[in-house]
């Protein structure tokens, strides 16, 4: 049972909003002292695994496999061949009517020792291709953004279920009790469906994804409103502690009181530690430049900051970091739209893998890159036949894995010659979820939570691991 102590030194340390490093060291020590035998204590997984943590790069909008990592020369022949897709019961309005095939406007190169094809705009990423396992066999179910996003993030097309990161935190706890177990680094604009994409669902609230904000304090309300001085807050907390202490004496059998008092202490340890972790100016100049921090292109700079922050987070002991990169929904002008996306992503993404490798973190860090679906080889006829783009396609996509026990420098699975559907090593999304958990040492079938009378699991109804994706 911990009561906010009266000793000034400890208080200062807990309340310091401009905390220096000395304070932090002490705070961490204290955190270990009373490491909660609770929800977030580090736990052993179900099987031995290399990956101890995960960085999930969520590509919102549906990146085109055909224009990134799975080129289709056949489309050069079919280009502009027109056909009509009749409306069927199972097609969205978007996918029917007069259509034509669209070739990729991009040039491709071969990267890595086995010659992995990738869009030539991935200049730097090509250099780390030998760390990456590209998977072309995955199939989603929905061609609608919000439901497909929920499916990818939470295993279920309806919102409301726990996100992959929440399951990972539930299964493994977290290494640093002063930071959230599951951190999300969203784009400035939140994705469709909002924070339900990183929800704890029916799992206890400890496992909720904490979205770090790019402006203001990184965690909502972490700091008092402007004008509230440190001394004022300290005095308030001192009085609070006295009232709570007296109250606790009146209710000695009410165990939750101690937990709530402790939660205030934890909050202030977080308040002290978080600013240090998010301060990327602490990184050597060379590292910042590697990622592209300070790049003339603001988009590169913004992504670079988040990718570097992700590395700092996992290094500080966060279990699961998700970065949301939106802007992949290129129904038209794919050359411009995908081109711009790839140009700004290339450097930070390559830097992340190189940096993780350099620091020895890659072995134990699983990096995942996935969108909610792939894109179609054909498109509706619009923009006078010049606005080449692609519609949504749940039957084919490319996702990739790196580090943390994933195979290196290889391609698994294949799509048909136009890129319309996966044909080799085909697996539904739920098997990919089972695989991710397995790489983290967790067994989807045993990682369950009794809710509404059912032992629920990420895959919903069980699935199998994709053995080709495990080294």
């Amino acid at each position: 049972m911990k009561i906010l102590p009266a000793s000034i030194s400890r208080r200062e340390l807990l309340l310091g909003s401009s905390a220096g490093l000395g304070r932090i060291a002490l705070a961490s020590q204290l955190a270990q002292d009373d490491a909660r035998a609770g929800a977030l204590t580090p736990k052993k997984g179900h099987f031995p695994a290399k990956a101890k943590r995960c960085i999930f790069l969520l590509m919102e909008g549906g990146p085109s496999h055909i224009d990134t990592f799975d080129p289709k020369p056949k489309l050069d022949q079919l280009h502009m061949t027109e056909f009509t897709k009749n409306p069927t019961k199972f097609a969205a309005a978007m996918n029917t009517g007069k259509r034509y095939y669209v070739r990729s406007p991009f040039e491709f190169r071969e990267a890595g020792s086995i010659g992995i094809p990738m869009n030539r705009l991935f200049e730097r990423f090509a250099k780390v291709a030998d760390e990456v396992c590209f998977y072309r066999g995955m199939q989603a179910e929905s061609v609608n953004h919000p439901t497909a996003l929920y499916h990818l993030n939470c295993g279920n097309q309806f919102g409301g279920d726990p996100a992959v990161g929440a399951w990972a935190a539930y299964g493994l706890g977290t290494e640093n009790q002063n930071l959230p177990a599951f951190v999300v680094l969203p784009d400035k604009a939140y994705p469709q469906g909002g924070s339900a994409n990183w929800s704890n669902g029916f799992l206890p609230a400890h496992y909720q994804g904490t979205a770090l904000r790019s402006e203001g304090p990184p965690i909502l309300d972490m700091n008092p409103p402007p004008g509230v001085a440190e001394a004022e807050q300290r005095a308030n907390l001192e009085l609070l502690s006295k009232l709570n202490k007296a109250h606790q004496l009146e209710h000695p059998h009410h165990a939750e009181l101690a937990a709530r008092i402790e939660s205030y202490e934890l909050a202030f340890r977080m308040q002290a530690e978080m600013p240090v972790v998010v301060d990327i100016s602490k990184e050597p100049k060379a590292t910042r430049e590697l990622y592209g921090v300070g790049h003339a292109d603001a988009e590169v700079d913004s992504l670079a900051r988040r990718f570097l922050l992700a590395r700092r987070m996992v290094q500080a002991g966060v279990r699961f970091v998700q970065i949301v990169v939106s802007g992949w929904d290129s129904h038209d002008y794919i050359e411009k739209a995908h081109g711009a996306r790839i140009r700004s992503l290339d450097q930070p993404m390559a830097a992340l893998l190189a940096d993780l490798k350099r620091t020895g973190l890659l072995e134990e860090t699983l990096v995942v890159w996935a969108g909610e679906f792939g894109r179609s080889p054909d498109n509706g006829v619009r923009g006078e036949g010049k606005a080449w783009g692609r519609d949504h396609n749940a039957k084919a996509m490319t996702v990739w894995l790196a580090g943390g026990g994933a195979p290196r420098g290889t391609i698994v699975g294949a799509t048909d010659e136009a890129g319309g559907a996966a044909v080799e090593c085909v697996h539904p999304l739920k098997n990919f979820h089972v695989t991710l958990l397995k790489l983290l040492g967790l067994d989807d079938a045993r990682l369950t939570y009794l809710h509404a009378g059912r032992n629920k699991q990420l895959s919903q109804t069980g699935g199998e691991a994709i053995r080709e994706l495990i080294a």
Partner: protein, 827 residues
């Protein structure tokens, strides 16, 4: 894999689990070539014997050994023989699993017998809720005391009056009692029991009672004012359902009628406008249809949602599992799931014209309309004059954004129009067709609602339609309780009416038990059966089954009066016990004492406003918009193809500071104060609020703009009302005087803070930018544009620079009181 293990473990070898599904699949997928007329490969799968005998390739089934059975191997599509043929033919994985288990279990062809009472393979105790209630006699206390005695546990003494008044007032109204309420109760010379009964009656008669208990119901029915998903459009008339629920609790509407109205009000009581509004229940879940969705899928999502919700809410059964396979634990075959779903097959979404009722709030409509009109005009102006050609990319994105916002505001304008968010049986009128602003183009037409039934979907997949299920109810209920299943008409109209009547019937073994159990849960912290949404095998069994049955019987006897059940529970000694230790009953399963609990998010917010003297008395009407964290309000959020508008709080204090039940419930944007304190999910039925303690709650309560604003209002109130401010603060927040040492500390604090504030002038709130940018889907480039401030002026809240340093110091005290454990826990 795991699924299979569980199946076998729970059902043993003799159980024809899933036989019905398997046989249906055989009929659908196999017999065309291997039985009915054709016997390709000399294989006839029509009987078990002929399947075992097999065809030219040998036996199709080796009972008990799926892996060696040709039938199973061919279904896997892995060898040279692939059945059903073709890439498209492969059955879903769940169906393959079911086949494997079925063969491993001996491949029985006989479906389970349903004659007379046959526990089948279900333990008698596991189907307790399917069985008719036993006749029992007693009272809440007699059942509870008997169990205490049996277990040798001594009950706690009764709580003191002050504790009890706070407990029951929050419990029944969601608000703390006033110091005047406390004084009156403490001074009441009547004996404790009688004085307490008077309090209960007073609270049950208050309008705040309905607001509190409707919130519980809205949790269960996953109510929201918006559609969810990508655009998350407003459901502009849903508020009428919310107010209907409040009125229903306040008027003690008989619960059987309450059920009938929500499931089939339009069919049963067309002349009663309340009953039409009530059908909003059927559409309460998240639902959206756009050009990017598949009509058959969005329709199926609703059918699944409404089937599941109806069983969950009224019967306490989790039917969702039976969508893909016969329920693993409960006697709920897939066939029954689709039979019940077929009841809704003819139900269409309808925006029905329905004049406002006398009891519905229309105050503020004119102002609200004017504000929205101004917003529409502002948005139109942003688009006006922009021709399609010759726009810069920035302008193009801005037009796209404002066009979306315009559609949203125009949809919102319907909130002031006399329509009901309702349904009809068949699409009665084309103009009622309510599929959302962007969905009409490809959604269902009139003829689509004419179907006789729905297809059983093999593995729950729309791509694998099986046999047709005609409307019906859950067959196990008749089997175990003797309560006959009704004939459900196959006409478009009357299906829901029959279902509603079957549920809202004293003979239905679930209905009354489920509701009295919910009421018990809200009073005592957890239900007699702990999983109030799951009365099946996997739910916790009732701790006091006879008490549950007695309460259910009392409920029915009382004419399904919810208030009568409140009285039975609240006036018991069991409810009035003090909290405290009970070494022999640590989890309080025997109700030897009162379990302390944290107040829910809404009750916490409402209590802060009430204590501060800021809680608005206005009730009902379209949802209002409280002030929420500014960063969250301004957070850019994607909608389909563009960004959503910023969150705009209501202009007047009266609208912002209403009870939380009247806050606009937006699925994609929850007030962070509510969210942090374990608010209810709006996507799934919430059977009980979590009360996890996490550090972000400390951040929220200590640092949020909301906390600081309300604390300042509280301080301003204390200073305005004069007298001993510290004394009064404790009385309002805790319903007691401060102890001598508390008073000393509080005064010392206020004095020190007054000095501090004299030295430290308040800081101005930073102005947030309304500059927006979006990465264009077209070009991948960022386009910047400006979002407008709302076209209205805000009635300001009290600001730190409006008040003296002494009042700011009192606000520090107020903030501490709001954060204290005593304020957030109930004893």
């Amino acid at each position: 894999m795991r699924a299979a293990v569980l199946h076998l473990a729970f059902f043993g070898l003799s159980i024809p689990l899933g036989a019905e599904t398997i046989l249906a699949t055989l009929r659908e997928k196999c017999l065309g070539c291997h039985g009915d007329g054709n016997v390709f490969g000399k294989l006839d799968l029509r009987t078990r014997d002929s399947a075992l005998r097999g065809g030219s390739r040998g036996p199709a089934i080796v009972p008990g050994r799926a892996a060696d059975s040709l039938l199973y191997k061919s279904l896997l599509h892995q060898g040279d023989l692939k059945m059903p043929p073709g890439e498209e033919g492969k059955l879903p994985a769940e169906t393959l699993d079911a086949f494997r288990m079925w063969i491993d279990e001996g491949a029985p062809y006989e479906p389970p017998k349903s004659a007379s009472v046959n526990w089948g393979n279900y333990g008698r105790d596991d189907v307790w809720a399917f069985r008719a209630a036993g006749k029992t006699d007693g009272s809440v206390d007699s059942f509870i005391d008997a169990a205490l005695k049996r277990n040798g546990v001594t009950a706690a003494p009764l709580a003191d009056r002050r504790t009890l008044l706070r407990r029951v007032t929050v419990d029944l109204t969601g608000l703390p009692p006033t110091p005047e309420d406390v004084k009156a109760f403490l001074k009441d010379p009547a004996p404790d029991g009688k004085a307490f009964a008077r309090v209960v009656d007073r609270l049950l008669a208050s309008v705040q009672y309905g607001e509190r208990w409707a919130r519980h119901w809205l949790d269960v029915v996953r109510y929201a004012d918006s559609n969810g998903y990508s655009n998350d459009y407003e459901r502009p008339n849903a508020w009428r359902y919310r107010d209907y629920v409040i009125r229903a609790f306040n008027s003690d509407k008989p619960y059987d009628r309450f059920i009938e109205e929500q499931i089939a009000g339009d069919e049963l009581f067309l002349d009663d406008p309340e009953a039409v509004i009530a059908t909003g229940f059927l559409r309460a879940g998240p639902w959206e249809h756009t050009g990017m969705s598949v009509a058959a899928e969005t329709r199926q999502m609703w059918l699944d949602d409404v089937t599941h919700a109806t069983a969950n809410v009224f019967l306490g059964l989790t039917l969702g599992c039976a969508r893909c396979h016969d329920h693993k634990f409960d006697p709920l075959p897939t066939k029954d799931y689709y039979r019940m779903q077929a009841v809704f097959a003819t139900t269409a979404f309808a925006r029905r014209p329905l004049p406002f009722l006398e009891t519905e709030r229309r105050d503020g409509f004119e102002t609200g309309k004017a504000q929205l009109d101004a917003l529409i005009a502002q948005t139109e102006a942003a688009i006006a004059g922009r021709k399609k050609d010759g726009l810069t990319p920035d302008e193009k994105e801005a037009v796209k954004l404002h066009t979306k916002h315009l559609a949203m505001h125009k949809e919102s304008a319907f909130r002031y129009q006399p329509y009901a968010f309702a349904v009809s049986s068949g699409l009665e009128r084309e103009e009622w067709n309510d599929v959302g602003p962007e969905g009409a183009r490809s959604y269902m037409k009139k003829a689509d609602y004419a179907s006789a039934g729905v297809h059983v979907l093999v593995g729950g997949s729309l791509q694998s339609p099986g046999q047709v299920a005609e409307p019906g109810v859950l067959t196990a209920i008749e089997r175990y309780s003797g309560y006959p299943a009704p004939e459900i008409p196959k006409t478009a109209s009357g299906r829901r009416a029959a279902l509603a009547r079957w549920i809202a019937n004293p003979a239905n073994p679930f209905t009354a038990r489920v509701m009295v159990n919910r009421i018990w849960q809200y009073h005592f912290g957890k239900g007699l059966a702990e999983n109030s949404n799951n009365f099946g095998k996997m739910g916790k069994k009732p701790t006091h089954p006879e008490l549950l049955d007695w309460l259910a019987a009392r409920f029915i006897e009382s004419g399904w009066s919810v208030k009568a059940i409140h009285r039975e529970m609240l006036l018991s000694r069991t409810y009035r016990r003090a909290s405290g230790a009970a070494p022999n009953d640590p989890e309080n399963r025997l109700h030897s004492h009162f379990s302390p609990r944290r107040v829910e998010a809404e009750a916490l917010r409402d209590a802060m406003l009430k204590v501060a003297g800021e809680l608005s008395e206005a009730r009902g009407g379209p949802g209002t918009f409280p002030r929420i964290n500014t960063l969250v309000a301004y957070q850019p959020r994607h909608a389909m193809g563009t960004l959503r508008p910023i969150y705009r709080p209501s202009p007047t204090k009266g609208a912002r500071n209403r009870r939380s039940i009247y806050s606009f419930q937006q699925r994609s944007l929850v007030d962070p104060v509510i969210e942090t304190f374990n608010g209810a999910s709006m996507d799934m039925s919430c059977e009980r609020r979590e009360s996890t303690t996490v550090p972000t709650q400390a951040f929220s309560l200590l640092n949020s703009e909301f906390s600081h604003e309300v604390a300042l209002s509280f301080a301003a109130r204390l200073s305005r009302e004069g007298g001993d401010a510290v004394e009064r603060a404790f009385e309002l927040a805790f319903q007691r005087s401060p102890s001598a040492s508390e008073k000393h500390e509080a005064l010392k604090h206020v004095a020190a803070m007054t000095e501090h504030h004299k030295r430290t002038p308040p800081a101005a709130a930073p102005k947030l930018s309304l500059e927006r940018s979006i990465t264009s889907e077209l070009t991948g480039e960022k386009h910047a544009f400006q979002e407008s401030e709302p076209p209205w002026t805000y009635e300001p809240d009290v600001r730190p620079d409006d008040v003296t340093p002494a009042v700011r110091a009192l606000a520090d005290l107020a903030l501490v009181l709001f954060n204290s454990n005593e304020f957030v826990y109930l004893y």
